[in-house]
Amino acid sequence: MPELADRPQPATGRRGPKIVGFLCDWAVASEGVVRDDGTMRDLPNVTLIKIPCSGFTRPAWLEFALRNGADGVFVCGCPLGDCFNRYGNNLIGDRVEQLRRRLERQKVNPERIGALFYGKHAGAAFVDAVRAFSERVAGMPGPAFPARKPAPATTGQGPAASTPGPAPQGGQSGAPAGREGT
């Protein structure tokens, strides 16, 4: 119970879903798009983390963000084929696909994980795409990871309650939850 209480609740009603984005240094120019604190100017619910290349992103970081309260994560690289480092965006594109499949087996909606590809001057198109992504995520119910423990308070959803099995084993399967996927 305390573990669940610590987890930040998704702020769907208030400011839109909490979204973390990884933005390649060579892709969309961040001037005019990102504020000083890393959130996007037009979409304050989206925080961008600048990275040297989209291929730098470890898929585990996307999962880490989802497990720690983000409702959606995405990586933005240069247009496919135009990576400054030649294949970084193709690599992360493939890895995002793999992560989606892996997390789908853990009952996470794969649409919560996105890969966007926009060039340096495509700032407007990038903002539109992120907005669309944000709205799509906003329409999804509940936190990204269904509750591990079949706690009475959160048994609203069918699949969440059915996965870990009956209550007595819940404590065992719930303990290493954070490391299970990695």
Binding site: P8, R58, W61, A65, G81, D82, R86, G119
Partner: protein, 385 residues
Amino acid sequence: MYKRLLAGLLAVTLRLDTLIARVYPDDFNPLYYTGGLSNLFLTVLVLSGIFLFLYYTPSFDQAYTSVQFLTADVPYGQIIRGIHRYSADGFMIVILLHLFRNWFTERFRFSRDEPWISGMMLLTLTGFIGVTGYMLVWDQRSEALVAMTANAAAQVPLVGGWLRHALFGGAGLTDLLLPRLLFLHIGPAVGLYVFLLWHYTRIRHPKVWPPAVWTLFALGFVVLLTGLVPVTSQAPAVVAQRPQTLAVDWLFLTPYWAMRFLPPLVLIALAVVLIGYGLYIPYQLPETRSELGLKDSGVAQVIDANCTGCELCYYDCPYNAIVMVPSPSPGVTKAAQARKLRAVILESRCVECGICVGACPFEALELPRLLQKDIHERVLTACQS
């Protein structure tokens, strides 16, 4: 000034990409495959060149007639000859596109100067091979080109006479001329592959072929052009009679056209300056990452305790900056116990892109100033704000 110009040209390049993207999907954009297209044209040139070589006779009295025989009497000889000529033009065009695109998108930065330098040498060599190709036909244009080149070479101070001898085997037209030219056409063409090896050394998975759409398009366009505008020779060369006109192939013979207006020595100096500037381009902007407004993450480091020798980073590093070496001892973590190899970073090749970090599932690679810990912290702050 130069920086602003470069920024403007980058904007134009990227706008061109978005225009192309309206017709072709991103991964079919031909401008992303100028290197692969060059390689395609080079391959076509080598194959068609072998065919032409089988028919060509390098002697004054037979060179022209052997080319005429090939063109008129050999089935599809005309087509093969045209493919060779037009592919050469296509080769030059895509090389120049490759040069300008990588220049404007600043892909000569950090440790990528070696592909740039070898590329400049490939370009110079290609121009030379193109000119000697026009000389081999031994029509009036060939003779004019030989005379003009010999004249220009002889005017170079100190080494002029030696240079002319090296190129054409002596003053005037000697019997050695055409065999020598044949070698000067084919020898440097082999040399292209030597420089290509250098060009590719720092590139993992080079894009050596364009997508099938563009392979078919380039081949089809060349072959169609061959049929529509057949390649012909001019009148045969008549020794001791200087021709007055020069049909110019703008991609290869522009310097000879310019000889009408400028003395050869000025042109040679201009060529040296241009090539010299080309070699200097990667060093013109010696900016550090922080000056570029990028985070200076530092050269990637292997955390030896975690390395399992799985080679994933080795396969993904775009610059061949990671080598796998036999491991003297097992790693510390459980996964690293049975390792035979371990990763070692060649720091001089690393551009700090961090792709190896994304490739490593065992947390055995880090960028020193952008650690996984930092990313986790940022993610947590983002999620809790």
